[in-house]
Amino acid sequence: MPGSVSEGNWDLAGRGSLDQARHLDRLREAIRQKLPVVVAETPLIEGQTQKVKVPVKVLELPRFRPKMPSAPTGGVGQGPGEPGDIIARVPRGGQGQGGGDQQPGDQPGEHEIEVELDIRTAIAMVFEDLQLPNLQDRGGQDLWRPKLQWNSRRRHGTLPTLSRRATLKEALARSLAEGKPLNFTPDDLRFRAAREEPEPITQAAIYLLRDISGSMGGERKYLSRVLTFWIVTWLRQQYQTVAVEFWVHDVSAQKTDEAQFFGLAEGGGTLAAPAYQAIQQYMQVHHPSSQWNTFVFHFTDGDVADGHAAFEAAQQLCANVRWFGLVELQPPNYFLHSPSRLSHLLEELPRPPYRHVLLNKRSDVLQAIKLLLQEEEASA
């Protein structure tokens, strides 16, 4: 009696995916902590439909296990060879092969896996965590603009704007008052009419300004890339229309596109004042503050050659923008957070609109986003 052959029966059907979902639940916190920095490769302008891959460490249950040797030892293999031959060679990374310094349990284990998330889900998770309040509509006439609303009636007009319902109402009322059956006269005609009403402006212009002087490469470029993603994503959620302008500067400023914004690098010194002035001039033409909510974010290491001129230029800029954010990217192992020359110069700017964050490592990105995008109390 040899047994049998059949097709398609197994008992677990689907259980793996269900338990995997539970596993993901337990990974949620780990994913959330990684999310702010894995979006670096996502393009800003058309990045909304993509997936992000989040590398996370797998969860392990604690168990009794032998201590791993701190360095790999050896073993038994099979195959041809002579004593002294090198039979395999692997790159020696930071963690080596032992990897015994990991924490079990709710802490990550030693193996990494990739979780694929929809970018929208990822964004929702991060902002849920940040708990940023939605931006308030700013009062004042400059952020209202007139808009035609078709909500009025009048006695004269062109035939296409005839309101049949209003006309019928008029005719009914008149006919009843006169005690006659329903009839229409030219006096009954009513037409729809437009009236000008103020409407809040729901468009925003984001000016991203990057310092491309020599010291702004590597990790600091990466951090500015991550931060710009979250700034743009957040403001996109707040306004119907969002225009993003990319500017770079060293001693002079220049408008660029997204690719160049992150790609350009120059040597030499750098000045902030000409860049602020250039942006201000451009903004007055293309995104006047009577029509647009304007936001300016300046990414720099703060090592500028400006004098007081930078403060004056920034002050002028501040008068016309909703936020002016200075993002100071310091070297990773900078000794203490001492303010840079630029942030020292700008210290006296009114807050709001001025805001200032220091950033030097990936783990601080979440905090920086929060400081940067927080709506400040307008008490000052």
């Binding site: 047994g3 398609g8 259980r15 249950l61 168990r63 050896g74 293999g77 060879g81 395999a88």
Partner: protein, 440 residues
């Protein structure tokens, strides 16, 4: 002819040849299933298995790895009666035939190997029944409560053992109170709580906690007992991995030439065989190592005696008792050690680990290999229940030391199950302590 009919026909011919060849397998029910089913079965280890997130994690990791093309699972076979073998539906027909012959080798071990033949053969039904009960517990006490208890129980699933029944006098099962007793005006015997008697020391840590923990509810004890049974079910299987794959490879290698295959199938069979049974420079490939070992035993002792040896050894025992210098040469075995090296690249030197082929004599190699194969999970004994109900544990000395951080976290899981403090003395009598959880 449908695939099913073709394979059925093949199976009956294969079965006859297998018996004629001299093996005695348990009958096998073959199921042709899609890839994700194989991943699922490999992650859970058994049909009928209950849910827990670690299996979902394993399923997903396996799926990710296989989807990237790192390895392939041709089959998955379960030690039941009849045995169940799952065949990947995307295998070629020739590969299915090879896998079926291979599975009969496994089935021979299931039925005849000393460590396996008396094991539970309907364990999938046991698990399926417990799955129903666990689902009921989840409805009654909440899925989180069930997960919390499973998290902790699975942490010590390897710390199980079958030991003689405890010395404690048989306690009468709690009988229902006689409803007519008061008619006679008899005094109720005062309910006197007997101090529990333990048979100590014991290596059955999980079983001990399941029976004697003062804080667990009955349903929680049931969960622990199921996890313990599963641990016991898997324990012997860890000791015979090379024997299993080696024998199965030996069987398909000798059975297939005795059967007529379609033209072209022989090439595919040879391709799959070569893909699976190939020496690995850095570790033992059980398919190749076991198969070659079996061949050498048959050459030396004849088929019948070689099969007898095969059915009573473990992986470690096979190496310790039969790996002589001749076999070391035939199997091209060597020891190697990792040393720090460097390669020059255009971007500067790149640090590496280099595996260096080492000169070593047969004795050393045999001892090193047998010891490595004999390593199991650490043995933790319950030695006493002390003042304030503190559970006292001891790590039975072996060649290795416990990982301190993992040990501490595992002890916390034990503390939650035990409900009082826990102390563990490692091989150097160094204590790890966990205080009882504060209430409120």
């Amino acid at each position: 002819m449908s695939l099913k009919a073709e394979l059925e026909g093949f199976l009956s011919r294969l079965w006859e040849e297998a018996l004629a060849f001299g093996i005695d397998p348990v009958p096998v029910d073959f199921e042709i299933v899609p890839a994700h089913a194989i991943y699922e079965l490999a992650a859970y280890g058994m049909p009928g298995h209950y849910s827990h997130w670690i299996y979902g994690r394993d399923y997903w990791r396996m799926k990710q790895r296989m989807d990237r093309g790192q390895g392939r699972l041709y089959e998955m076979v379960i030690d039941t009666e009849p045995a169940i073998a799952y065949l990947l539906d995307s295998n070629t027909v020739a590969a299915q035939k090879l896998v079926m012959a291979h599975v009969l080798g496994h089935a021979d071990l299931f039925k005849n190997h000393l460590l396996l033949k008396d094991g539970p053969k309907q364990f999938h039904h046991t698990l399926a029944a417990s799955r129903e009960r666990f689902a009921q517990y989840a409805r009654e006490y909440g899925a989180d409560a069930v997960e919390a208890i499973l998290d902790r129980a699975l942490s010590i699933q390897d710390q199980v053992a079958v030991e003689p029944q405890e010395r404690a006098e048989p306690t009468n099962p709690p009988s229902r109170p006689n409803p007519y007793l008061d008619l006679w005006g008899e005094e109720k015997p005062a309910a006197r709580r007997r101090p529990p008697r333990y048979s100590l020391p014991t290596s059955d840590l999980l079983g001990f906690i399941a029976r004697h923990s003062p804080v667990l509810q009955d349903w929680e004890r049931d969960v622990l007992e199921v996890v313990r049974l599963e641990g016991l079910y898997h324990a012997p299987k860890r000791k015979v991995k090379i024997l299993h794959e080696g024998w199965a490879t030996y069987c398909h290698h000798h059975l297939l030439p005795r059967l007529e295959l379609e033209p072209g199938e022989a090439i595919e069979v040879a391709r799959v065989h070569a893909q699976v049974a190939t020496p690995d420079p850095l570790r033992l490939n059980p398919y190749w190592f076991g198969w070659q070992f079996a061949e050498s035993l048959v050459e030396e002792f004849g088929f019948a005696r070689a099969r007898e040896i095969w059915m009573e050894e473990t992986d470690a025992g096979l190496v310790r008792n039969y790996l002589d210098s001749q076999r070391v040469r035939r199997l091209q075995l060597y020891r190697y050690r990792w040393v720090q090296g460097e390669v020059r690249t255009p971007r500067g030197p790149l640090p590496t680990w280099d595996a260096i082929y080492e000169e070593s004599d047969v004795e050393d190699l045999r001892a090193a290999l047998a010891n490595a194969l004999a390593v199991g999970p650490p043995e933790i004994q319950v030695v006493d229940v002390g003042v304030n109900g503190v559970l006292e544990l001891r790590h039975t000395p072996d060649d290795s030391q416990l990982d301190p951080e993992w040990t501490q976290l595992t002890l916390e899981a034990i503390r939650d199950l035990w409900g009082a403090g826990v102390v563990l003395y490692d091989a150097n009598a160094k204590p790890y302590r966990v205080e009882p959880r504060r209430r409120g």
